[in-house]
């Protein structure tokens, strides 16, 4: 028992506190950190790239909540039946979940390629050539193009969570609702959805956390460009720390990201706590 505690303490817990300390210092990663109080945070609030990254993270979050969550629920409802062969379809939907973000990024970079990529080629072929865009080098569109890549595995993930929740919906309840004359929609809204509440809370929390800490897709596909327009906090932090050697400043970014996530996680924990009190 001692070994896990020590390892966890050194590699996970202590670093968290050290990062908080570093965020109050100026540090290049080589010499000793100098304490500068709130200096990094003051700089942060005057840093336009910070606002771009923050704003992009909010875009990631909103789209993640609005697309993969309902779509995952719809897929779960649709594929939750006992017909032969359903397992094969489920396997197909789960598949992106097993791929690394780096692999997803490479495949999609190719699909988005302006001249030979599958999307623009298709648009040209069906006569919508005026809709073709340089998906990854247009600063108005690039973030949305990146979020789509993330939505692909995230939808599969929320589908798994909702299917797990649907296992807890007893068939007797469904039968009873049917006998009482509830139609499909009524059964969904009045019976299934309330029973899925715990699964939904988990899916929302996981989705939000994923959207806020996204790093790999941005780092691999655009490195935050063009002109920092697709920057997100996690990648900005990496660039500041390991490319510009301002680890103090990067730590302040990490703390801000941490606080934002903490805000959501605590709302989520509070929800769980509240529902437990209610019942």
């Amino acid at each position: 028992m001692l070994i896990p505690v020590i390892l966890y303490g050194i590699w996970v817990i202590a670093p968290i506190f050290y990062t908080i300390f570093l965020s109050f210092t100026q540090w290049d990663g080589l010499t000793a950190p100098t304490f500068i109080g709130l200096g990094n945070y003051v700089d942060l609030f005057n840093d336009p790239i910070f606002y771009t990254a923050l704003f992009n993270n909010i875009k990631w979050l909103l789209i993640y909540v609005l697309v993969p969550l309902p779509l995952g629920l719809a897929f779960a409802m649709f594929f939750n039946r006992s017909l032969p062969g359903v397992k094969i379809f489920k396997t197909a939907i789960y598949l992106p979940l097993t791929l690394s973000f780096v692999v997803l990024s490479q495949i999609w970079t190719w699909i988005y390629q302006p001249k030979y990529g599958a999307i623009n080629v298709t648009l040209e072929a069906i006569g919508l050539g005026n809709l073709t865009v340089a998906w990854l080098s247009n600063s108005d569109i690039v973030t949305y193009a990146l979020v789509v890549v993330g939505c692909w595995p995230q939808t599969a993930y929320t589908m798994v969570l909702f299917l797990a929740g649907l296992q807890n919906v007893p068939t007797e309840v469904m039968e009873a609702a049917k006998v009482d004359g509830a139609n499909r929609w009524q059964r969904f809204w009045k019976v299934i959805l309330p029973l899925l509440k715990p699964a939904t809370i988990i899916a929302v929390a996981v989705t939000i956390i994923q959207s806020l800490r996204m790093f790999a897709i941005v780092n691999v596909m655009t490195r935050g460009g063009p002109f920092r327009s697709s920057e997100v906090l996690a990648n900005y932090m990496y660039v500041e720390g390991f490319k510009n050697y301002s680890m103090g400043y990067a730590s302040a970014l990490a703390v801000i990201l941490f606080l934002i996530i903490l805000l959501f996680v605590s709302v989520y924990l509070y929800q769980i706590f509240k529902t437990e009190v209610e019942y």
């Binding site: 028992m1 896990p4 505690v5 390892l7 966890y8 050194i10 590699w11 996970v12 817990i13 670093p15 968290i16 050290y18 990062t19 570093l22 990663g29 897929f75 649709f78 039946r81 017909l83 379809f89 396997t91 197909a92 939907i93 789960y94 598949l95 992106p96 097993t98 791929l99 690394s100 780096v102 692999v103 490479q106 495949i107 999609w108 190719w110 699909i111 030979y116 599958a118 080629v121 692909w152 798994v160 969570l161 299917l163 797990a164 699964a199 988990i202 956390i209 800490r213 790093f215 790999a216 780092n219 691999v220 996690a234 932090m237 990496y238 720390g241 390991f242 990490a254 703390v255 990201l257």
Partner: protein, 277 residues
């Protein structure tokens, strides 16, 4: 079956097939591109044209000249000990937290769960610094140690809940027979925890294999890089050679994909069990 039912089931299959095909479209693109020559890609731009010839030439180029073979081995060297280490230590830790009452038991469990929710970016610079100070920076061990430690948060929580369901009477009986605690762990707890370990192992294998950040942060030498970081350098080396990049992507995807297809039941079970917190 009534006529209506036939119609209904038929439309289900039709919709399901359309969704699945659309869903896997990106993989189809990668799959066909990896067999096309650059000439073919540029001149015959339509993706619905299948490759002219069926050749593994581009896979071979990514594997040999592109260095994917080296990265592939590196990923195994990093992933296998990380998974085994995390599972073994977490089983020990989970056992202690599930079956012994000691001071701070709940507190320690709470810390493991909380640590699991913290974004790993919070640990990036200190872990880099610790690895530097310990002389581990740019070694496999730096990455392995971090993975083992960080994944314990999730694994201990997961295994503790599972081990709690093992009846304590069983352990007491072994104690009466004079078994040591470690023996009880090895001979009774571990075998009974097998299903949970399998689910967790598959899940952890996929996660660690697919990790990108820590291979990037803790390793500098090209010949130590895991396959995810390697795939990015392949892209830099073969800029715009989409057939080779697609082949490289498929090589990087192959292992988790096979693991998933063979052990799908465990994979999904693991995700579901982990979610029912």
């Amino acid at each position: 079956m009534s006529k209506r039912r036939v119609l209904w089931v038929g439309s289900f299959y039709l919709i399901a097939i359309v969704i699945s095909l659309l869903w896997l479209f990106p993989l189809f693109i990668a799959g066909t591109t990896a067999f096309k020559s650059m000439n073919e890609i540029v001149q015959n731009i339509y993706w619905w044209n299948l490759p002219d010839e069926f050749t593994f030439q581009y896979f071979a180029e990514a594997w040999n000249q592109g260095g994917m073979s080296r990265y592939f081995i590196n990923s195994f060297i990093i992933t296998v000990p990380s998974v085994l280490g995390a599972l073994f230590l977490s089983a020990l830790g989970g056992f202690a937290l599930a079956k012994y009452n000691f001071k701070y038991n709940k507190l320690i469990l709470g810390i493991f769960i909380a640590g699991n929710m913290i974004p790993f970016q919070m640990m990036m610079f200190p872990v880099f610094e610790i690895s530097n100070v310990l002389g581990l920076y740019d070694t496999y061990l730096a990455v392995i140690l971090f993975h083992v430690s960080f994944q314990m948060g999730f694994c201990i929580f997961f295994l503790r809940n599972f081990i709690r369901t093992i009846p304590t009477d069983l352990l007491d009986a072994a104690r009466v027979d004079g078994s040591s605690e470690f023996r009880i762990f090895l001979q009774i707890v571990l075998p009974l925890t097998k299903p949970a370990l399998a689910a967790l192992g598959i899940l952890e294998f996929t996660w660690i294999w697919n990790d990108y950040l820590w291979g990037l942060v803790l390793l500098a030498s090209d010949n130590l890089r895991p396959i995810t970081v390697g795939l990015v350098s392949l892209q830099g080396e073969y800029l715009s050679k989409w057939n080779i990049i697609s082949a490289g992507s498929l090589i990087a995807a192959a292992v988790p994909l096979i693991v998933f297809l063979v052990f799908q039941r465990y994979f999904i079970q693991g995700l579901m069990m982990g979610a029912n917190k």
